[in-house]
Amino acid sequence: MTEPVTPTLLYLDNVTVSFDGFKALNALSLALDHTEMRAIIGPNGAGKTTMMDVITGKTRPNQGTVLFEGKHDLTSLDEAEIAELGIGRKFQTPTVFDMHSIEDNLLLALKGERGPFSALLSRHTNQESERIDALLERVRLTAHRQRRAGELSHGQKQWLEIGMLLAQEPKLLLVDEPAAGMTDQETADTADLLRDIAKTRSVVVVEHDMTFVRELDVKVTCLHEGSVLAEGPLDAVSANERVIEVYLGR
C-alpha cells in the first residue's frame, strides 16, 4: 500500500452507533489532520465519549468508516492493536492501576515492546528512569512517586492519567475532559501542555470548560445527538444559535 496523499490522520465517515435502538452516534463524519488539535464540545450525551470509544476500538460502530493514517481500518482492530498504532487515550473518569505505584503506572505506559516475553526479559534502563522522572515532574507527582495510585485524589488521578498518555508517545491523543476537577490555574496549565504536544502530534480534546477551549485556540467541533452541529473557530461556533440553545445556554 502506498502512503496516502491526503494529510488526514484520522478520518471518520458516516459513523453510526446505536445501543438497542438509541443512536449515540448518528452518521458522524470528521477528519483530523496530522499535528492538528481539535476541540470537541457538545451537550452531555451528545456522543463525544462514544466517538472516542469508536476510535479506540472499545465500541464497534454499526456502520461507517474509521480510518487512521488513511490505511488502518480501526473498526476491524482491537484495543491493543489500535493502541499500538499510536492512539492513546485519557478517559473521562480517570482510570489508573490502583494497586501499582505512580511510578509503575508510568512505567507500564512507556512506549516500548508490549509482548509477554519481552516483558519477562525486559531490563530497567536509565533512559526509562529519566523519562519517568521527567514525566513525574511534568504532572507534578514527583513527591508521590512511590504511593499507590489508588490513594490519589480525583484530580491527582487526572494528572497521572495525562502522564500515562504522554508516556505512550502516541501519534494521536484523545483527551476526554482533562480539566474536569482542576482549578483554574491547572486548567490553564493543561491547555499549555496540550498546545505544546500538538506541535508534533494530533490531539482531540473534549471539554465543557469554554475558557479552556478558548485558551486552546483551535478549530472546534460541536456535536449534538450524535452528529456534527457546527464546526469552525470557537467564536463562530459559540455564536451559532443552535449551539447556544442546546449547549451554551443563555
Binding site: 445501543f19 438509541f22 457538545g42 451537550p43 452531555n44 450525551g45 451528545a46 465519549t49 473521562q92 473518569t93 490513594e151 490519589l152 485524589s153 480525583h154 484530580g155 491527582q156 487526572q158 494528572w159 475532559e177 474536569a180 476537577g181 482542576m182 482549578t183 483554574d184 490555574q185 491547572e186 465543557h208 470548560d209 469554554m210 442546546v246 449547549y247 451554551l248 445556554g249 443563555r250
Partner: protein, 233 residues
C-alpha cells in the same frame, strides 16, 4: 441558623492524615463553599460528614446533635444528602429506580418524586427508563443531584457538581442551587473548583490546603483576587 457544624475534624487514610483539625459550618438558607486545589482534602471532608469514612478526631454536629458516630443511613434519615464526586449512581438501575432509592429515608406517604427535579433537569424525564450506567457523564451528574433531592434533605452536600457538565446545565445547576437556597429549608455545602461558579453562589467560603482550613470569609472576600490567587499557586 447553623445546620452543620464541624469542629477540629481529623481523618486518616491508614497512616496518612488527610484532614487536620478542620472547622467548618453551614447554615440554613446559605451556600457554604469549600475551595482548594487537588488533593487537599475536600472530598475527604465531605466523606466524613456523610459518614462514608470514620473520623479520627473532632466532632460533627447536625442540628445541634453529635452525629459523628452515626451510620451513613442514619445521617441520611436525619436529612443529609450527598452528591459524591464521580456521581456514583447505581449503574444497573434505571433512572427512575435510581431516583426511587432516594425514598429510603422517607416515610411511606412522602414517597414520590418531586416535580421540581424534572423542572431543574428536564433531560431526566425523557430518560426514566434507561439504565443509569449507560448515561453520559453529565447526565449521570444530573441524576445524582436529582436523587439527592428526592430524599428531601436539610443539608445538601455537593462534591464538584459541575464537573463534566455542559455550560447550559451548569447554569441550570447554579440556578437550582440558588433556588434551593432561597427556599430557606436547607443548608448547602458545596465543594467546587470552578471558581466563577463558586463565586456566584457562595454566601460563605473556606479554602483548604493540605488538610487544613487556611482561609475563610463571606461572599465579599471572594470578589477580590486574593482567593483566586491562593488557589492558583
Amino acid at each position: 441558623m447553623t445546620m452543620l457544624s464541624v469542629e477540629k475534624l481529623s481523618l486518616h487514610y491508614g497512616a496518612a492524615q488527610a484532614l487536620k483539625g478542620v472547622t467548618v459550618s453551614a447554615a440554613i438558607g446559605e451556600v457554604t463553599c469549600v475551595l482548594g486545589r487537588n488533593g487537599v482534602g475536600k472530598t475527604s471532608l465531605l466523606r466524613a460528614i456523610s459518614g462514608q469514612r470514620p473520623i479520627s478526631g473532632g466532632t460533627i454536629r447536625f442540628d445541634g446533635r453529635d452525629i459523628s458516630r452515626l451510620k451513613p443511613f442514619e445521617r441520611a434519615e436525619l436529612g443529609i444528602a450527598y452528591v459524591p464526586q464521580g456521581r456514583e449512581i447505581f449503574p444497573l438501575l434505571t433512572v427512575r429506580e435510581n431516583l426511587e432509592t432516594g425514598f429510603a429515608p422517607l416515610k411511606s406517604k412522602e414517597r414520590r418524586i418531586p416535580d421540581e427535579i424534572f423542572e431543574l433537569f428536564p433531560g431526566l424525564r425523557t430518560m426514566l427508563g434507561r439504565r443509569g450506567g449507560d448515561l453520559s457523564g453529565g447526565q449521570q451528574q444530573q441524576l445524582a443531584i436529582g436523587r439527592a433531592l428526592v430524599t428531601k434533605p436539610r443539608l445538601l452536600v455537593l462534591d464538584e457538581p459541575t464537573e463534566g457538565i455542559q455550560p447550559s446545565i451548569i447554569k441550570d445547576i447554579g440556578r437550582a442551587i440558588a433556588y434551593l437556597r432561597q427556599r430557606k429549608d436547607m443548608a448547602i455545602l458545596l465543594v467546587e473548583q470552578y471558581f466563577d461558579f463558586a463565586r456566584d453562589l457562595a454566601d460563605r467560603f473556606v479554602v483548604m490546603e493540605r488538610g487544613e482550613i487556611v482561609q475563610h470569609g463571606d461572599r465579599s472576600a471572594l470578589e477580590g483576587g486574593d482567593v483566586r490567587q491562593r488557589l492558583a499557586i
